[in-house]
């Protein structure tokens, strides 16, 4: 039998192989032509596809090496850094910390080169436009705090403390503290948005004393944002928190005026 004299039944016989993607290149279009209008063929294919979906379970189990998790984390951090490279930090006055733009899952998609170049060109045009509009000096490199985060992330002995969101928020992130307690950086994301009259204020709590860790004006709550912690306080911090305050910070001075968005308990490393 040749391809030219195949009848409908011959093609129906090829559907199991089509479901497995086992057809040769010259057979595939013939089966696809049948599948266009033939409901019986379509039903058969659906059934065979259901069968093939079960086959993946028919393999010996091999435990994934434990270091794969750290590798994935490193890739995600790399993606955030690449994202920061492409974005603009809106400068704020007298702030000792900086921000980066939201990391989107799409940032790590591998596009064809032509699409990538087109997107890159569009990003460049957009950046130039925003720069002209803001008349400011955008930062294309990762912020020092993000670099510190990546450095601590990959360093031995670093402790990681999870952000515990307030029940009303979905904040995520972690505080990384160096092995010698000399440096720390907080990564946070998914904060509630603020209005133009509001700010985010970081609180460092040591022995029940609140100390402001900085007032921030981020364009959205999405993040992630990287916030450096005052090195003089790193060893003494018990809890880290954040509140939404008026534009210039809490009207109560060294005390928050609203409910904490999250807390980080610096007691037991994760």
């Amino acid at each position: 039998m040749t391809l030219n004299n195949m009848n409908r039944n011959d093609l129906l016989d090829l559907i199991p192989a089509y479901a497995l993607d086992a057809l040769d290149a010259d057979e595939k279009p013939l089966v696809e032509a049948l599948l266009k209008d033939d409901t019986e063929a379509q039903q058969l294919l659906q059934e065979y596809q259901a069968v093939t979906s079960a086959l993946a379970f028919h393999v010996p189990e091999r435990p994934a090496p434990p270091h794969l998790r750290a590798g994935l984390q490193a890739k995600l951090a790399e993606s955030r850094q690449q994202n920061a490279d492409k974005t603009i930090t809106v400068p704020t006055e007298n702030r000792d910390t900086s921000s980066s733009a939201p990391a989107s899952p799409t940032n790590i998609t591998r596009f064809p080169t032509t699409i990538l170049l087109s997107v890159a060109a569009a990003v460049i045009v957009l950046v130039i436009g925003i720069v002209a509009f803001l008349n400011s000096n955008p930062t294309s490199a990762p912020s020092p705090n993000e670099l510190l985060y990546n450095e601590l992330f990959n360093a031995e002995g670093t402790s990681s403390y999870s952000v515990i969101p307030n029940v009303a928020t979905d904040v995520t992130g972690e505080l990384l503290v160096s092995a010698d307690n000399s440096e720390a950086v907080l990564r946070i994301a998914s904060l509630p948005d603020t209005t133009e009259e509001q700010s985010y204020q970081l609180w460092l709590i040591t022995d029940d004393q609140f100390q402001s860790g900085g007032v921030f004006h981020w364009p959205t709550g999405h993040g992630p944002y990287f916030v450096g912690i005052n090195p003089d306080l790193v060893g003494d911090i018990v809890t880290v928190g954040m509140t939404i305050e008026p534009f210039d910070g809490s009207p109560l001075g060294n005390e928050p005026s609203s409910e904490q968005l999250f807390s980080v308990e610096v007691t037991t490393a994760n």
């Binding site: 086992a22 979906s53 010996p60 794969l68 994935l72 939201p102 790590i108 999870s162």
Partner: protein, 190 residues
């Protein structure tokens, strides 16, 4: 359909939660790695594919539709396809003598992946798979896990093309006969 913990994690990934992705990695890295290893036959390639799969999950989580099937099935399909892509690239790169990494002997199917992830119907299918004649099982295996076409398999096992086609058709028909007895349970939710 009520939301399962897995579906909740996928929804969190869609909003950018790396922690949710890492939790899914903790739960599913082993089945993904197992499939990748089965296709590629070495740890280094399997590790890289496993990482690629979870990066794809990070990027494409929104394309998972719980109404269409189980998450593990969807994820392992991505794993298999990613691994086969890598296998094909490796074969193009390597000398022809090294292009096939496995022998043509019947494969061992006795060990199953993550029994807790397998529905009763899937378990029945896999049981029938064990009972298929070696030639039929091998042909299906070479196609599914190594991305081989009819012609590739025929050349690999040194048998006539028509014979290989028959092996695949007959083996798949037996598996389908199990499915059509009880089709509704195959796609039950996690």
């Amino acid at each position: 359909m009520s939301e399962t913990p897995t579906h909740a994690l996928i929804r969190q990934i869609q909003t950018g939660s790396e922690e949710a992705l890492l939790q899914l990695h903790d739960e599913f890295a082993t089945p993904v790695y197992s499939v990748a290893y089965r296709v590629l036959g070495n740890a280094q390639d399997a590790e890289e594919v496993t990482q690629d799969v979870f990066l794809k999950l990070w990027d494409k989580a929104q394309s998972f539709d719980p109404e269409r099937g189980k998450f593990i099935t969807w994820l392992l399909t991505i794993a298999r396809r990613t691994a086969i892509d890598r296998l094909r690239k490796r074969q193009r790169r390597d000398a022809p003598d090294n292009s096939v990494s496995m022998d043509a002997e019947p494969y061992l199917w006795e060990t199953k992946l993550g029994e807790e992830d397998v529905s009763d119907l899937q378990r029945s299918l896999l049981s029938v798979m064990d009972e298929l004649p070696n030639d039929q099982r091998n042909a299906i295996y070479l196609s599914y896990f190594h991305g081989m076409s009819h012609s590739d398999i025929a050349a690999h096992v040194d048998k006539p093309l028509g014979t290989v086609k028959s092996h695949i058709r007959m083996g798949m028909q037996k598996l389908r006969s199990i499915w059509i007895q009880e089709p509704t349970t195959l796609n039950d939710s996690e």
